[in-house]
Symmetry: C2
Subunit: 392 residues, 2 copies
């Protein structure tokens, strides 16, 4: 088996690589399949439902839903959580329109297309957050049709947190009370927010319908997976009894990976609330360190207050981008600072970037590129926007 | 970790448990993720795309599609393959109707609902096969709308093979030439048919659009997965470029398990064509043995000619059903004879069934239940249908 050389090095992917792999050995000798509904014993005996339900209970508590009021399952990935949440929304409001900011994950737009639901894209602020003024204006164009809203708890590129409270207020002010469904896409940050004191709270005490989070991102599960939690009353709209399984079909997928719940269960138990909180704090601290180092070095950078995703000018060298496995979009790139990314690694990255950057532009006279459009004038260090003109 | 006691015993599930688990140890120490399109290198370095593409090439060859003419990916399960195939069908024929026999897998009906496509259920013959006379009559009720047809290469309960050639002829005779899309659901038997000489051939030389198969069934991959293959020209209708991944989105799920392709690749290489053929032959032989043993013992049983799924009267005892993990539907149960199910195990099963059966009916005078409705009069050994009256 070829060992990927870049395993230790990759910087941008929001995967926590601190997983204790020795534990996998204990779980590996069975073909484990959690098909059907996690809460209904099927007739296939080799499952890990008890682990799955324990993990789901943990998440339901985290988001303030009582044990007898929630339903959920462990998905194959973040996309499946979004597909499920938005499907529940559509089944509750067959005539609804999906509203999602243009910085939402691509699975949201895929869902709209799959489900044949009209989708209205909302503008974003420079931070990446949904622009609620634009949301209001677009809601008012379709006052008669219910709203299915995708709320980003951490956008993919900038890690921006949509303002859930303001979105709810906007819906209510625009006359959508009892005629909206909110799905919270918390892929990465959905598991970080609850551990940050000053963060807005994602909770089922607010009128939301579902929350999803990835298991292989902050949790560091070594196989792609996720968790979706919704209200028990909602899921009844889309479940079907399947006699030959002695179970019920309410999931998007059929057979489901039975190892993932064990990995998640193990991680939650090993780290606990306090362990996760410590990791979240470390990530935020290190992300601030990276953003500061970049700015000090004259690289335009932006970091949302509650995020560990540092956005900065796109390196103009494919080899550098490939080496550090940077994700790029337009004129920016980002680094997602995860628990396994150390300060030392971040420093090495910045040093290399600074050292190589002048060489990427032929003929010398390198000028800092303008990224004001992406991260705002106030964060741009280009010749026009920076107070002092920088020629490196 | 609790070791499931029933692991060795389960009879009905179509999972090949002969996997060489020692190989998992080699693959386990990485978080492997094949996100995006298998044929486009993304910027996440820890993937197993080279294995994935090798496996896909193998399946494309098996079903007669040239390397430059096919597209496909390794899915999370059989359901995802069906969801993908039917979505391609709908995107090609937005106004199409899904036709599927009533014995199709539940994921087909779930897809119709998710995708907001009208679904027409076709009657089946006693064997479980699609009734083409009924198909013809239902096609003629909607002559103006294209047909998206789900063809079962092995139904879930009876292992029946729909008659692909006759379905195509029916479509053409009814005036649907160039206005139909066929998805072949080959979950279990899709990998068995190519190795049986007298079996009808599933091939892209016929006008089919996609084929899907499960990886954890006949292939015995220890995590749920599957393969879907379609024509390259078709998939263009549903792919979107995703800049921040440097890849393209044409799959249903986003992040995809990177271990599954390695397990599949390993199994295909270890067993090869000849190894798989031997296993298929063994399964058919053992299934015939089981059906014969049951009939000799006075238990009504049915076995489709090209199947290893033995259908028989439902045991009237929940403890027995649970112990042997039998899947039941109405008045019948089934056993799927997989490579890891030995003749000895089958004999033990029959002996126990025969020994316990008289005790399941109070007051003595046990009569063989009638299952003519499910498996046909000619296969029913009840007092009315059997030539000689049996009182055990």
């Amino acid at each position: 088996v070829p060992v990927p050389q870049t395993y230790e090095q990759k910087l941008w992917y929001p995967y926590n690589l601190d997983f204790d792999f020795s534990v996998m050995a204990q779980f590996q000798n069975f073909s484990i399949n959690n098909l059907g509904d996690p809460f209904i014993e099927s007739n296939y005996g080799v499952h890990s439902r008890q682990f799955e339900v324990a993990v789901l209970d943990w998440f339901a508590r985290l988001w303030d839903l009582q044990q007898d009021e929630y339903w959920g399952y462990i998905t194959n990935c973040g996309t499946e959580g979004n597909l499920h949440g938005l499907l529940v929304g559509r089944e509750l409001f067959p005539d609804g329109i999906i509203y999602a900011s243009c910085e939402s994950h691509y699975s949201v737009f895929k869902a709209a297309r799959m489900y044949r639901v009209e989708c209205v894209e909302i503008d974003t602020l420079v931070s990446g957050e949904m622009n609620c003024a634009d949301f209001k204006s677009k809601l008012s164009q379709n006052p008669g049709r219910p709203a299915i809203v995708n709320v980003n708890i951490g956008t993919t590129v900038k890690g921006a947190i949509d303002d859930l409270d303001r979105i709810i207020r906007t819906l209510e002010k625009c006359g959508f009370r009892d005629r909206f469904y909110i799905h919270c896409d918390g892929a990465l940050a959905g598991l970080m927010m609850p551990f940050i004191k000053q963060a807005p709270k994602v909770t089922f005490k607010k009128p939301i319908g579902s929350v999803s989070v990835s298991g292989h991102k902050f949790m560091g599960c070594p196989v792609p997976c996720g968790v979706v939690i919704t209200r028990l009353e909602h899921v009844k709209v889309l479940s079907t009894d399947i006699e030959y399984l002695s179970s019920r079909d309410a999931t998007i997928m059929g057979s489901r990976n039975g190892h993932a719940p064990m990995f998640l269960w193990y991680t939650l138990n090993k780290k606990g609330y306090r362990g996760i909180r410590k990791e979240v704090q470390k990530c935020l601290r290190n992300a601030h360190h990276l953003a500061n180092r970049l700015r000090e070095a004259g690289v335009s950078a932006y970091l949302n207050e509650l995020s560990s995703t540092v956005v900065f000018e796109r390196p103009h060298d494919e080899a550098f981008v490939h080496k550090w496995q940077l994700a790029c979009e337009g004129s920016i790139a980002h680094v997602v600072v995860m628990p396994n990314v150390s300060v030392e690694k971040l420093n090495n990255f910045v040093e290399e970037l600074i050292g190589e950057r002048p060489r990427w532009h032929e003929g010398g006279g390198f000028r800092v590129p303008c990224v004001a459009k992406d991260i705002g004038q106030e964060n741009c260090l280009c010749g026009v926007h920076d107070k002092k003109l920088r020629v490196v």
